[in-house]
Amino acid sequence: MHDDAGHSIVLTGATGFLGAFLMAGLLDRGYHVTVLGRSSKEMGLSDRISDLVRWFSLADPGERLCALEADLSLKHLGLDDATYGRLCTAAGKIIHCASDTSFTERNRARVMATNVNSLPSLLDLAADARTKHLYYVSTAYAAGMREGICMETPISTDSFTNVYEESKAEAEGIIGRYCENTGVPLSILRPSIVYGHSKTGRALKFNALYSPVKSLACVRDIFIKDIVEQGGKRSRQWGINMGDDGTVCLPLAIYLPIRGTVNLIPVDYFVESALCIIEHSVSSGIYHITSDNPPDMTTLADYSEQFLGLRGIRAVWDTSGKNPAPNPAEELFDRFIEQYRPYLSDRRIFDRSRMKSITPGLSTPAFTYEIFERCMDYAVACDWGNT
């Protein structure tokens, strides 16, 4: 563990999507990174981290990277006194990126345990280490259920779309109050929906943007199989057929209650922004790492059609948000996107004044078909994360 306070960072969540990319970015910039995490069922933490280093094709970081098995739910992170002591000397800055991203109410206890109840031991570490700066990776959607401009300020709502948003908002509050009381500088990073790398298409997780596309691909494949192998009698009864060019006509209306947008950013933009904040922020602040020009569902539907060789996908804005007479494909797809629906027609506009002031040369890449295709090609090549 390195004890140069300015260049030594303790990072949680390095085995997750954002955390892994952030770790790679930090190592690339020469930081000393101590990763706090846990083993998976199949693999120890060190091996998981080594795998990631290889996945990112990073030069061997040697002693600049240290993996510590830690349990955030336990006092001193479950570490022995000596290790904890050494960690405190290494924790120049702390980035808390670990998070449970489940949206489902059924997982409330688990989500709250990870995102909220585990904070005391992390905050104890910040105090014990006299950390120079604490960075908390939250979400833009901690702003809660609302329309209009969301400022880069503490949250002032208790109305949320799901338990994930709620837990992140609560965590922001707890960490904010703690840092205010102790004088630890705090930066809260609020990304919107993050997808793969805009230049390479690479990603480690394939939910959020990927889920609807993956779902469409699966639904499409069901009907292609029926058409090719069974003659397509069943498909035809729902108006599904295949053109001579192989394009599948799949009438599928995506009903959304309001016309809004989908706020998407590529992971490389997230990392660049986060590094900028880490390197340039001195005092406390909240940053919206979001897109200024988010697309709407029509664009996503068009991109998906083009990518998947489909026709017939369309967004329908209807106050009920319900398809009155769905065909089986629509019914299944509707169910697939249920948890993502609030983010598919979003009316929140994220103010980015502070973000822009600290990252003057950095702008969100436009969400073009080329980037979409690159990311989806990569997802398909990885079988949507199954390989």
Binding site: R106, P328, Q339
Partner: protein, 619 residues
């Protein structure tokens, strides 16, 4: 090794893998049954017996006798046994049947002498009671009565096999054997897996006594000891009734005697004495009594300990209850992620008297039942338990009111239509990528996709279910038959399948098993604790072990639970390990039984199966 030796080894392997499940003795596929078996009744004239006979001849443990030649000649190589045995075990016994004929033929052609086994006094007297053909000391007959796959028993070759056909003949035989102090056991000649029907003296086989007398005005049917569950169920079904029966090849009288009769219908129809109106017996002194006789022994009592090896009396008939059947009965499968939740649901239904039959089935049961081959069963198990996240499925049979109640309880379920799709589309499930998405959908509410109104249509489109697809891995020459079979409506009808239970015969297809069966309260933590203990024991001895099923009984207060240890009956090392494991498992169950005072093991029901349910469960 020469080609001939290889062939002999392959055939011997088939012969020694017979499960003694007796499915070749009932017409469960509509193919008919081995003609010589039906005519001559002795086990040796059925494919099951010929398997044992061939193995004994090939290994040189018995000579070629007169009966041996008769048995070999009586097989016309019709191939019916191939359909039956392939359905159950994926085996082709006709190869053994042919090898038996070839063996005998070659022996005779090479000048071999037919061994004639002379009658002795006892045999002469037995023959005078039952007729010449129905008593024998010929080793070709006796060999089929000397063992089953039970790993705990020292098998015995009987001196004689006798097949009486009336109460009087049974009484006379008993008196004769008593006079000569010859030990005997009685069997009905159904399935045998518990090592209960072996004697160095006489095996009295009651298979000829197949009487079935309906008394519809009194809602009962009186059956003889040679009547199999499948047969009586079929006859009752023709008259619009259901009889509570066990596995299809189990004989009704013997099954009640040995296990007290239990099934998923026990939720409604009960166990042991709940199932019958009366029964008739021949006592060990040769006297006749029925349960309703005032002076009859109290067979309704139960002693919670291992009973005598020999039955107290021979059951010669039982009058079974006829249950009404409504035309709106339907089956569903309700999936659960955990045993705890499945138990909660099953108990709730049983307590509220919702439904006719309820059974929590584990992945091994479901997959081995559904799949026509071992390979597909392994895939199906993986799909149901891992991909679909359904390690437990509650089989629920009920009328429209019961099914409505389950819907009201809010459980997503696999209905009859989807069950048919999944059954006939089973091979396509393996490569269905969309299953991954279904699991994602379950994150919010388990199996919520089953609530989608058109999910069944979509699954049908995706899986293209058909009996052609289902049978694609089956031996090509048998495929046309099985294509026809699996296209029959009853083969995907959960009510029919649960009533006739022909799929349950596949449970030991991969390996035979020892079933650890007990009655106990529906107490999740207790079951979990015992299950952990049983699993630890099996794993210590490196034995495959699986949750079998749980059925709530007695208004949801208790349940019957089967946990299974699998073993290779042809591997001496595995036999040793299963012996140790089942001994330890029995001790563990005894310990819990003592500790709780509420657990009853079915192994203690043997020979006490006519007991009253309350005596069995509570006293």
């Amino acid at each position: 090794m020469s080609d001939r030796e290889n062939t002999i080894n392959d055939v011997l392997k088939i012969a020694k893998n017979c499960r003694h499940y007796a499915m070749c003795k009932i017409d469960f596929l509509g193919t008919g049954v081995c003609a010589s078996g039906l005519e001559k009744h002795y086990v040796s004239f059925y494919p099951e017996g010929r398997m044992d006979l061939y193995a004994a001849l090939a290994e040189g443990t018995i000579p070629v006798t007169e009966k041996c030649v008769e048995i070999a000649d009586s097989c016309n190589l019709c191939g019916t046994c191939d359909f039956q045995c392939y359905f159950v075990n994926e085996m082709r016994p006709s190869k053994v049947m042919k090898a038996l004929k070839d063996h005998v033929c070659a022996y005779l052609e090479s000048g071999g002498k037919i061994v004639s086994q002379e009658d002795d006094t006892v045999l002469t007297e037995l023959k005078s009671i039952v007729g010449d053909f129905w008593a024998t000391n010929d080793s070709a007959v006796r060999i089929a009565y000397h063992h089953d796959l039970c790993p705990h028993v020292t098998f015995k070759m009987p001196e004689y096999v006798v097949m009486p056909n009336s109460h009087e003949e049974i009484s006379s035989i008993i008196r004769l054997l008593s006079k000569h102090k010859i030990p005997y056991v009685v069997r009905g000649n159904g399935a045998s897996s518990h090592g209960l029907v072996f004697s160095e003296g006489v095996v009295m086989d009651l298979n000829r006594m197949k009487s079935i007398d309906f008394d519809e005005k009194n809602w009962s049917v009186k059956v003889g000891p040679g009547v199999a569950s499948f047969t009586i169920q079929s006859e009752a079904g023709k008259r619009g009734y259901r009889v509570h029966t066990a596995e299809p090849a189990a004989l009704v009288c013997a099954n009640i005697m040995t296990s007290g009769l239990l099934s998923t219908f026990s939720t409604t129809y009960g166990i042991s004495a709940d199932n019958f109106i009366d029964a008739e017996f021949i006592a060990r002194d040769g006297s006749f009594f029925s349960l309703n006789d005032r002076t009859a022994p109290n067979l309704f009592s139960f002693n919670n300990a291992l009973s005598e090896r020999e039955a107290f009396a021979i059951c010669v008939s039982v009058s079974m209850k006829l249950h009404p059947v409504t035309d709106d009965e339907e089956g569903i499968l309700v999936p659960f992620e955990s045993l705890e939740k499945a138990l909660d649901f099953a108990r709730e239904c049983a307590t509220r008297h919702i439904g006719l039959a309820i059974g929590i089935l584990g992945g091994e049961f479901v997959s081995s039942f559904l799949a026509p081959t071992k390979k597909l069963a392994a895939e199906a198990k993986d799909i149901f338990t891992k991909k679909l996240g359904m390690p437990y499925l509650v089989l629920f049979i009920g009328d429209r009111y019961a099914l409505r109640s389950v819907r009201d309880m809010g459980q997503p379920a696999i209905d009859q239509k989807l069950f048919k799709t999944l059954s006939q589309g089973l091979p396509a499930l393996h490569s269905a990528k969309w299953l991954d998405l279904l699991k994602e959908l379950s994150d919010d509410e388990p199996f919520s996709y089953l609530r989608l109104g058109q999910f069944g249509d979509l699954a049908e489109t995706a899986l293209a279910p058909s009996s052609t697809q289902l049978t694609e891995d089956i031996d090509p020459d048998l495929r046309p038959f099985f294509e026809g079979l699996y296209s029959r409506p009853e083969m995907t009808d959960l009510v029919w399948l649960n009533t006739f239970r022909i799929l349950s015969s596949r449970y030991c297809r991969e390996k035979p098993c020892v079933a650890l069966v007990c009655y106990l309260p529906i107490d999740t933590s207790l079951i979990d604790e015992i299950q952990g203990g049983l699993r630890d024991i099996a794993e210590k001895h490196h034995l495959k072990n699986e949750f079998g099923f749980i059925t709530p009984i007695d208004s949801g207060k208790r349940c019957v639970w089967e946990y299974d240890y699998f073993f290779n009956h042809n591997d001496p090392d595995e036999i040793s390990r299963i012996q140790l494991a089942t001994y330890e498992a029995g001790a563990l169950l005894d310990e819990y039984s003592e500790k709780t005072g509420t657990i009853r093991q079915v192994r203690y029901v043997v020979n006490q199966g006519y007991c009253r349910r309350e005596n069995l469960l509570y006293l």
